[in-house]
Amino acid sequence: MRDAGFETFLRESTAGLLRLGNVLTLDPAAAEDLAQETLIRVGTSWSRVRKDGNPVGYAQRTMINLFLNERRRRRAIPVATVPETAREDTALASVESSAVIRQILAGLPPQQRAAVALRYLADLPDEEIAAILGCTTGTVRSHLSRGLSTLRGRVTKKR
């Protein structure tokens, strides 16, 4: 490895990138593949990424681009089937809330899902999300607002 800095970056960022990949793909195996491809690209370009001074941002941008490009290639966006039956057991609902949120996230368009992931898991401001997604901050706010309103509405309905 040319640069010890990349080794440090690899150690410190892998868990976060796997998490972001998991929110985007909602599939642990696909998340692993996405994180691996992202880190390989960052490693290949490490001399430039290091100069930029924000390797985490570069990696997040690379991951989102890989994810969105893959979705564009596939065209069809799988939409999760939302069960119609209400859950009466609140304890069970609480235990399964993570799975429910996964299901609902799966129903969000890729751009909205990416915006929600970058805001609430990567804690990025609107401006950075806009730069990564290649859109305006207004569009980011619109993605977040619609995404969250979908999440809130469906979670409420389910409980």
Binding site: L10, T14, A15, L18, T44, R48, K51
Partner: protein
Amino acid sequence: MLSKSDFDLPVPADFTDRVRRGVRRRRRFRAVAVAGCVVLGLSGISVAARPEPDRGPAVHAPAIGDVAGLHIGYAPPGLRLDPRVNSSVHVVTEKGLDTDGADPGPGDASAVVTMRVFVKANGGNQLFITVLAPFRTTPRADRATITRWLSDWSTIGLEKVDEFTVPAGTARLMRGQTTDGPKHQVLITAADGTVIDVGGNAELTAAELRAVAQGLSRG
């Protein structure tokens, strides 16, 4: 509602090893690919100067191929266009094209490099047309600066022996000295800042390179 820990995944034991292997593999692959292009380009420079009359192309010769949007109107007899098109994006600095195999990062000036090769009947490479088009500009390097860097890099160690106009832009016939004798190439600078390098191996004459340069035109 969204909890980070809900989406945590354990880092597989061999994950970092797989990433390291992937990075090494890609760097090797790129280094080999870029080195191949550089070797082809450099060998294209080495053309012995022989006093031969120009064998120019017909003015409206039908295109025999394309390279980065340019029609190739002429190639010396006996050469066949290799169907493969080599194209890649590289960082450009004041030192020229960065061929260390790394991708351009944010904030890097870059150029798209596209190459077509003409081969002999026995498969040997003979004529190389390389188009270096400025791609991403930066506050420090606008398009004209990138063009200058590419042009300077392409002519390192060579002297200008002639300048003439071709349909694709302004061409310079360059000459360098090696142990094998004088070496030539034609370098065209297009109005849009693209730099076109026409080179061949020692069996091609300077006049033939000029003729190839004359045959290049925008569609």
